[in-house]
Symmetry: D2
Subunit: 366 residues, 4 copies
Amino acid sequence: MHISVHKIDMASPSDVSGLAALIDAGTVDPANIIALIGKTEGNGGANDFTRGFATLSYQLLLAKHLAISPEEVGKRVAFVWSGGTEGVLSPHATILTRTPAQGKPDGSKRLAMGIALSGTIAPEEIGTKRHASAVADAVQKALLEAGIDRPEDVHYVQVKGPLLTPASIADADRRGVTTATRDPNGSKAFARGAMALGVALGLGEVTQEAFDATRIAGDLGVYSAVASTSAGGELVSCEILLFGNSSRATSPFRIGHAVLIDAIDASGVRRALASAGLTLSAEPTGEETSRIAAIFAKAEASPTGKIRGHRNTMLSDADINYERHARAALGAVIASLTSDPAIFVSGGTEHQCAPGQAPIAAIIRL
Amino acid sequence: MHISVHKIDMASPSDVSGLAALIDAGTVDPANIIALIGKTEGNGGANDFTRGFATLSYQLLLAKHLAISPEEVGKRVAFVWSGGTEGVLSPHATILTRTPAQGKPDGSKRLAMGIALSGTIAPEEIGTKRHASAVADAVQKALLEAGIDRPEDVHYVQVKGPLLTPASIADADRRGVTTATRDPNGSKAFARGAMALGVALGLGEVTQEAFDATRIAGDLGVYSAVASTSAGGELVSCEILLFGNSSRATSPFRIGHAVLIDAIDASGVRRALASAGLTLSAEPTGEETSRIAAIFAKAEASPTGKIRGHRNTMLSDADINYERHARAALGAVIASLTSDPAIFVSGGTEHQCAPGQAPIAAIIRL
Amino acid sequence: MHISVHKIDMASPSDVSGLAALIDAGTVDPANIIALIGKTEGNGGANDFTRGFATLSYQLLLAKHLAISPEEVGKRVAFVWSGGTEGVLSPHATILTRTPAQGKPDGSKRLAMGIALSGTIAPEEIGTKRHASAVADAVQKALLEAGIDRPEDVHYVQVKGPLLTPASIADADRRGVTTATRDPNGSKAFARGAMALGVALGLGEVTQEAFDATRIAGDLGVYSAVASTSAGGELVSCEILLFGNSSRATSPFRIGHAVLIDAIDASGVRRALASAGLTLSAEPTGEETSRIAAIFAKAEASPTGKIRGHRNTMLSDADINYERHARAALGAVIASLTSDPAIFVSGGTEHQCAPGQAPIAAIIRL
Amino acid sequence: MHISVHKIDMASPSDVSGLAALIDAGTVDPANIIALIGKTEGNGGANDFTRGFATLSYQLLLAKHLAISPEEVGKRVAFVWSGGTEGVLSPHATILTRTPAQGKPDGSKRLAMGIALSGTIAPEEIGTKRHASAVADAVQKALLEAGIDRPEDVHYVQVKGPLLTPASIADADRRGVTTATRDPNGSKAFARGAMALGVALGLGEVTQEAFDATRIAGDLGVYSAVASTSAGGELVSCEILLFGNSSRATSPFRIGHAVLIDAIDASGVRRALASAGLTLSAEPTGEETSRIAAIFAKAEASPTGKIRGHRNTMLSDADINYERHARAALGAVIASLTSDPAIFVSGGTEHQCAPGQAPIAAIIRL
């Protein structure tokens, strides 16, 4: 396996010119694209349509190049968008291509990816252990596809899956079955939590016994350190993008990860880069930062209402959602080290690291 | 002269319990307080009343202790509030006291402060060269009061002064005189700019000739590197708080400053601390950060719409004012180095450093 | 009893000049003021400090006039503020004074008021039936004080009381008792709902049996048609302001009420005015609207997500809280009939009318 | 000429199912569609991408039905979107079709439409008299196309055209020509104003002499009473949609208009409906409101800061843009009369009615 990583800036949610140029220059073969992960300049909330607009725009571009329909593009390329470029965050997309190994692997561990889909998650399963188990099964498949033998070589697992909608709750009602909650917005925490727990089970971060004993979105002390999950009303199954390092890959990249203890944990950012093989100087040099291909992180408000002992007002601000505050803060901290504000920072960390903590992964050029 | 610096957290804009405790413990003598600089959890905009609420609350506390009226407190203590604790910024107040030198100065340069008032600025003068000249004169007085001989020993000059209001424009109309602009909100840039240019003139950062040739809020390439100015509709004169180091002071503090090239300039934060005598490690230790008594900085959006070559969306966000984005970003970057989110970060940098750049000052314990 | 109603505009949350002028002119005797109900220009959320600022400002004014402390003013005058002047709503205060009957009552029903306090509500009682029962008892006392014999003569009952805070939950934990919820923000619905149910019980709108069978914030089909409740973290007991008509009163005002079926129910506004004795023309005349002394209403989002069959986006807007949308809409509809945007419109209607509906009361000059 | 008007609700900016159903049912022939005017649930600001998403979505639907490219759809159908469904406003689209007269005209005046494009407006012309003149010429062409002989039979002229962007200002710089302003956001007022003045000139609402003497965005006392203009960075020429009544039309609709004196002018709404032939009862009946096919209005903040003598806070709110407050208020007032919140209300009224006033047009079924 050979993975390539290309990051392009976007002038608007529908700006696909960066990818078009890479394709026209022959740098990227559209047939090899397996995933696209990016940030759009929406608000990141329920009424953020920049994600859908970006997906449609890229589907139309690829449909033209591949001579297939936009719907078919949607089936072969995974799109992961996070809305909200608060503070310095910059709208962009990271394009991932996968081809067979180029030459003989040299035995060193290099970037590998596996992608897997769960089956359909029924409304009554969303946010439950069955939702989590379906993700765990798909994680196993993705591991196999990635050619990664040891779960500790996995550094980032991005999962998108369904949440409850008024329509799916009504469907459950018609069939006389019970859902995890009756509140569509409230189901986000259950869905994200279930999928993160599923990653933890699939990778062996928790035992089956611990998994069975854990209340989803309740026992937040049980978690995955590498899961990053998001839930959307338009989905019916779960899509797993698993990133790790494999000695069978020939990619000129390596991935690593760390845990951020709070939104100003510069040390955690340095640890994630070091985990992938890049040790930053006190004042990072251009040579160092040019080796950073992509960073994926989650941002979270402090559950105690304090950061390093001082009161934080994110959760009581009625004008700006706390996720926007958290992304603005963490994004700037990361960019202050990497000199690059085109970073993927998203929100919501149920069962993704300990409460108040958050995962961060980094892909480094070799 | 002997200056003391005390920083207290605030649970709300009217929470004066931190200062009350310092007074009750005998740590702070209310009679020695000359200024209070802080952040409140408002939006920082025209309808942010948390600043006025905080001022009234502290005036009532000090009025009780000093047995004078709140109005009299307002005359002897300078209150400088910036609204908006975006991202990780934490509501707090820095209390500054001034007493005669304690013992014989040891010859080293230590924190000194001068405070001066301009005369009344007429509506037709606001945002003009006469406004600027009045500030320049007051800066000279503050320098003298601070016992600072060389302008290069000045590291931070906080100025508050009047802007145009519908009432003051109407007054000018009645008297048949012209104002710098007829737009009250638009007058902020003129007022802040005039006051910053006044600081530059008062400290000799610009010559009288260059000053005369500069269009206020127009020729932004002419600026002060240490001014931090704000304008409010409730003011009729300018209040100057000048901070520097003097060999005649006995304060256990030293101040330094630097220029931030953008909102993620961690290196600039390190330079400001180093300028005051504190060199941070790559990963700052608790011993190092405990020496930081206060940080004052301005945050600004990039005028080019780009940060380190990547597009920034602060200026096109119709939901969140760009000043809030900029404060969130810079506040988090500073706190990621100091481990303390109780930092004074405010917005608006006309003639305060080059366009897109911003001043930062740091007070260090000796 | 003789009630007078004075409405003053406010230039800011701390602007008390309107009341000062009424006192200076002898129109209002500060000793007779029993309550002040108003709107401030905050955001109406947890971080809206304009309410506290307004209260402190009026307390300082009255303290000076009555030669008592601001705290003592707080004990003798009820302050009810709602933050958020969205759309056309205008910041103002309605001042209510109470004196003995002036001359002999003429037998007609005229505005009367009763004010009562509950005892302290313990954290474990907040949002429970005991909270509701305490309100019901206080409503009975207020009825008596108002001299109103029949509950159907009551048209508006404003209740303020405590919600759960992190501090009060911690206190309950220490004492080993359980609270209605562990989520401070979530406790608002329980507290408002309990107090509204308490009004319904106190006025006989629900029987004791129905009351006992009702789940607070759950069975929303059980409600009061005249309660308007709000909850704040700074309160420990409930304050009841009961408005109705009494044949023993000599006030030159009468109050009426109606139920708004949605946020555009102009017909409901007309019904409330008619209930108080004022029938508006199709296009209301100045003579008609000049008779309106005050309007108090609640605004609510549609629980179905639809208004008159068309989709509404209030609940999915991540930038503007739905309460702000609802107040903007209803406030404009009322003002379009009364020609006066200084109206009291607040949010949150648990057990206050049927779901999606809301109470409105009007005081008319006779 | 025969114009048909169909209004459909939208579940999201990309929801085209309403129009798809009308096409599938044979109610609407996609080949006859000339324009689509609607509201999307964005914020209405510079970063509102819901408008572009909606346009692309409808273009894809029509491209499929007409077997042409989305770009070609863009050339034959005019799309006018206003972002922002504040308060009760409901996302929707009004679809306008045009076919030859059906049978012999009966001599009564019925809905007619003309559509015209100006030539390309160069950057240095944007917001100037040349921009306005180009619109005036296109208005004349549209009048002719609509078959309307007398300008007083024109009731609504929707114009979209270019504003200045950083790119177009740079282009002007390269060519050594001057633009109306150097501030892209500030150019909105100039562009909207120029286009509205162009409508006024084209319809003879102002004379050529008065036009020549008017400063665009300066002399706001000169205006059109029927223009509604918007400016977008993606446009290079102006598109004019002119609505009026013609005795040569056979449409089962008539249009009328009025001027709203402020955001709560219910009387103005009634006048607009009456102008089209529908007199509403004091409490409008379902029979009456069912005759309303579409309403187009502009909402504006009061330039005096007061509404009916009471202070308004729209312009000082730093959290919510004043256009959002104004749309929320006016939308609710209109819906309170029509029982239909799917109304087109947009913002920005330079040279569109007198300052603070705004145009409203109504299409009524005959």
